[in-house]
């Protein structure tokens, strides 16, 4: 069996940044396994700009952002295999994969980095009534068709869900000559960035209907019309509010789910809130030596934060390869997200293994104005940061100092919550 110090599953933004960071930390033997025919992942089809403001201080398009990292992978001669599907990861880090040239093969990995990204929530998970004709696409599928393959999925479009990909595709289809009639959003607010609502919808006069959902799809062979209706506070359609739109295409932008089939079969413990692995301060999963980063860990809104997180995972995997599993007899400190905070990444913290600073990322469950992000060390409130606005669509973070944590040797729980005062 071949062996590598670090095997990275996925060659998108997370996998690329993790590989570069692991090499910079001194690990020579690294292999990236990518199932597509090229590196770069989803960024290749995200041809719009706005990527990299935090990382490079300029607004790049997706392909340009990906290439910044691919260049480093090429310059460092980091090995990668394309068109290669990972079939299984065992608890002792044997990675089973296959492709057309090597057939099925196994690799013993010193450490594994999970960087498989996420998938769009499909129609089947949405319970939309009506027929099942052609012309219903996830927004990301439409994006691939238009931007990579050069096909228009349709001419008259209704979009369900106001996530960023749906908004971006509303503009993209409009620029290519389609008529986008309406964007319906089930929730009373959009999960998309304000900038996208203005520049992708308002610029082109596309209406956004909040608290609306699709109640009927017509068409036997191809979509011919879609009916939307307003929903009440119970999320149920209100009779009498139906509006029918003739169209040939329905795009779905209804959320992203981390792709953890491999993690599950490996026995990695998952967090039911994020659908991603439970990780410690080193971004290490419940299986020692298996790390996770990027959208497979929790869905991000900005690729810059994916790169930042993946860099940490790469460095920590490199450390694991050199120093082995950390022997600590201490019970790790647990993070609790409550009262407005939905989850934290990481979930646990071993102060002996942390850097001087630890970034804890989390999301809120609703829109909060003029509220405080509070951090409690057991029962003592030690951080109380006022925020003008927090929204579910924008990831939040707090930064913990090792110095401060060292003052609390018996600390059991760190709680993050949102407080009015």
């Amino acid at each position: 069996m071949k062996s590598y110090d670090i095997v990275i599953v996925g060659g998108g933004p997370a996998g690329l940044a993790a590989a570069v960071a692991a090499r910079e930390a001194g690990t020579q033997s690294i292999l990236i396994l990518e199932r597509d025919h090229e590196l770069g992942g989803i960024l290749n089809q995200c041809i719009h700009n706005g990527f990299g403001l935090h990382t490079f201080n300029e607004e790049l398009t997706g392909p340009e952002y990906a290439y910044r990292f691919m260049e480093k992978v090429f310059a460092e001669n980091i090995e990668y295999k394309l068109n290669t599907m990972v079939m299984d990861i065992s608890a002792d880090r044997v990675v089973t994969a296959m492709n057309k040239t090597d057939g099925m093969f196994e690799i013993q990995a010193g450490a594994v980095i999970l960087a498989m990204g996420c998938r769009e929530r499909p129609r089947g998970a949405l319970n939309i009534p009506g027929y099942r004709p052609a012309g219903i696409f996830s927004a990301g599928t439409a994006q691939r068709l238009v931007n990579i393959e050069g096909y228009m999925p349709g001419r008259e479009v209704v979009i369900l869900g106001s996530g960023d990909i749906g908004l971006i595709m509303a503009r993209r289809m409009t620029l290519e000559g389609a008529k986008v009639k309406v964007v319906a959003e089930l929730l009373p607010f959009s999960g998309g960035l304000k900038r996208n609502i203005v520049q992708c919808l308002d610029d082109f006069g596309i209406p956004l209907k909040l608290s609306h959902t699709v109640v009927d799809i017509e068409g036997k062979e191809r979509v011919s019309a879609v009916t939307i209706a307003e929903v009440g506070p119970d999320m149920k359609p209100i009779p009498g509010t139906e509006e029918r739109y003739t169209c040939d295409t329905l795009l779905l932008s209804c959320g992203l789910i981390p792709e953890n089939e491999l993690s599950k079969s490996a026995g990695v413990e998952l967090n039911p809130v994020t659908s991603g692995p439970v990780v410690n301060e080193s971004l290490e999963t419940s299986i020692p030596g298996v790390f996770a980063c990027g959208n497979v860990l929790h869905v991000h809104d900005l690729v810059d934060f994916v790169s930042e997180e993946a860099k940490k995972a790469g460095e920590n995997a490199s450390k694991f390869v050199k120093e082995g599993a950390a022997a600590s007899d201490k019970e790790p400190i647990k993070f609790v997200a409550t009262e407005g905070a939905r989850y934290t990444v990481p979930s646990t913290l071993d102060i002996d293994r942390m850097d001087d600073l630890l970034t804890v990322r989390f999301r809120v469950g609703a829109v909060f104005q003029d509220s405080y992000v509070s951090v409690y060390f057991d029962d003592e409130r030690i951080m109380h940061n006022k925020k003008r606005i927090m929204a579910p669509g924008e990831m939040e973070q707090v930064i913990l100092q090792k110095k401060k944590l060292a003052e609390y040797p018996n600390l059991k729980t760190i709680t993050i919550k949102i407080e009015k005062e």
């Binding site: 398009t61 392909p63 340009e64 238009v146 620029l175 290519e176 304000k194 003008r388 669509g393």
Partner: protein
């Protein structure tokens, strides 16, 4: 006097800003809650601009489409003129990030450049 309603894009607050204009000059600005909003609103009512991104057909390459962008922002009311020029282009492989695809798009004086590398087939 004309009145324009804007949504600020500076942060998730999305402040609704009301701007009153007379003869192309801003007379009053209301509804913004920070400096970002004021700067955004002034620019948006006097000189709104956008970066346009799209793809062009490419021949002889290992991909079907070449993604492109306007190198700088162009006037917002020229978006569809820019798209018309972009749609008329057929590029030839190979192309590298930054290669100029159109020199002066829709008379804006702005270049359209490639945003990914495409090798020969």
């Amino acid at each position: 006097m004309t009145t324009k309603e804007l949504t600020c894009i500076g942060c998730p607050m999305g402040c609704q800003i009301t701007v009153q204009m007379e003869k192309g000059e801003v007379v009053s600005l209301e509804g913004y809650t920070c400096q970002k909003g004021e700067i955004y609103a002034r620019k948006e009512v006097t000189n709104p601009t956008r970066i346009v991104t799209s793809t062009v057909l490419i021949e002889g390459g290992d991909k079907e489409r070449l993604p492109v962008k306007t190198k700088n922002d162009i006037p917002k009311d020229k978006i569809f003129d820019v798209m018309k020029d972009i749609d008329a282009v057929v590029a030839k492989a190979p192309k590298k990030i930054g290669d100029v695809i159109i020199e002066n798009v829709a008379g804006t004086g702005v270049e359209v450049i490639a945003t990914r590398n495409i090798d020969r087939e």
